[in-house]
């Protein structure tokens, strides 16, 4: 069990090594926080709950609109952005990134990490 936890932390650490990533977290589909390295002033538990609702809602609407597979949600703010992707049936991966980030690169890394995460679970 200890190793599994280490692996999760390593995933977050790996994402953090991308210069554009400010912080990231792993959340269960039911909205509970599993692991986070978001900035300490962020209420990570509340963000986790909201991300689960956002991803759940987005998946449902993707289906409703019949536009194929759900990929990710990108929330764009004037000073930054964050991306949420599904990671297997049980988890969600969130990344808070800089406004000027290379989004393509971040998405690629997130996809890789999400796959890894899916395998761990």
């Amino acid at each position: 069990m200890v190793e599994k936890r280490k692996e999760l932390e390593n995933i977050l650490k790996g994402l953090g090594e991308l210069g554009d990533v400010i912080g990231s977290s792993i959340v269960r589909r039911d909205g509970l926080l599993i692991a986070s390295n978001l900035p300490s002033e962020v209420n990570a538990k509340a963000v986790a709950a909201m991300a689960a609702a956002i991803v759940g809602t987005s998946e449902t609407s993707t289906k409703e609109l019949d536009i194929g597979e759900f990929n990710q949600v990108i929330v764009n703010g004037s000073n930054g952005q964050y991306v949420s992707v599904g990671a297997g049936g049980e988890a969600i991966l969130i990344c808070l990134i800089k406004k000027t980030a290379n989004l393509g690169l971040v998405l690629l890394e997130m996809e890789r990490s999400a796959k890894k995460l899916g395998r761990i679970i």
Binding site: R28, D30, L32, I34, K45, A49, M50, T60, I121
Partner: protein, 377 residues
Amino acid sequence: MKISTGIEKLDGLLGGGIKSDSSILLLTDNLVDKSSFAQHILSTRNLEGDKCLYVTTSKLPSHITKNMYEYGWEHKGLVFIDCISNTLKEKPKSRYALKTNITTPKAFEETLKLFKQALKDVKEPKTVIFDSLETFMGIGAEKIAKELEELKQLFEDTKTTCIYLLTDWGYEKKELGKIYNAMDTVINLSTVEKKLLWMNYFQFNGSPKIFFQITQTGVNLYVPKILITGPFHSGKSSTVHAISEKSVSVDRLGTTVSLDHGYIEKKGMVCDVFGTPGQERFDWILKILSRDIWGVILVVDSTRPETFDRAKEMLAQIKGYEIPFVVFANKQDLPKALKAEVIKKRLGLPVVIGTSAIKNEGLEEGLKLLFDKIFNI
């Protein structure tokens, strides 16, 4: 005589507390912070007037007092039997300091000598933490058990309650059995993982698992997730906010459109709470929010009986009948409010508590009831 551990549900499992002047084993896995758990108990005993001793074989006394200080745990006059400082080449402050290296075969015997001396010197009644036995498991469980058995008489004579800690690093059942036999009580502390959620629990004598988390306020019962739902305008968001330490809502024009989230940490309980919207057009969110819930608080507006059918329908939607739930008959502060007993009859549901989210009345009582139902006690 039974004495309190400061952890209400643990006292409950043990029939009122731990037995005084006895030997207690906390057998743990390697993920539980057993020292902090035991220190919570020690500080309770300290507050109730016991003299406290701490046998430490792996952590420096300064680390232990720092930890207790950070949790705000009382430890007045704590006496250390310091078996580690000399090994780590630190200067021991306690008069009971082991001179030999803790890793040598003679260390156990020498430790007991110091321990016995301290028991005779320190006034009674007293509580001891022995942190921890695995340091000596190398010399064999049989040898250890024999000595611990002999200590029991001294505990009675000196009015000593001793809590031994032992992390199970995969010892043989037979070996552990020998240690068990030298104890009066064995409490298990362990961890389970459920879909990436790591949860510590304590268990006594095949009891239900009682999940806990050690947070800033000490050892608290832990429920990962509770859902607060109910019809439009029944006061769900107000309930989430009133009951939580920290909370946020996603709302528009005074009504919740997505969810409320709150975190509870009080009265020995820790929990994440999720509030749902009440309007029918948001019902699909119920499905998303009701994943893996442990309990439900159904909030109804006591002044609007016409919404009760909708309340029951919502409970059915989230399969609330299959898990522990309580009904909060909210808005009891209003003059037209129906009494909780009347609502109980109308709804035909077993547990209805009168509450006022605005005046913060009945909420903690209701939450406590829900926790009791969840832990089946």
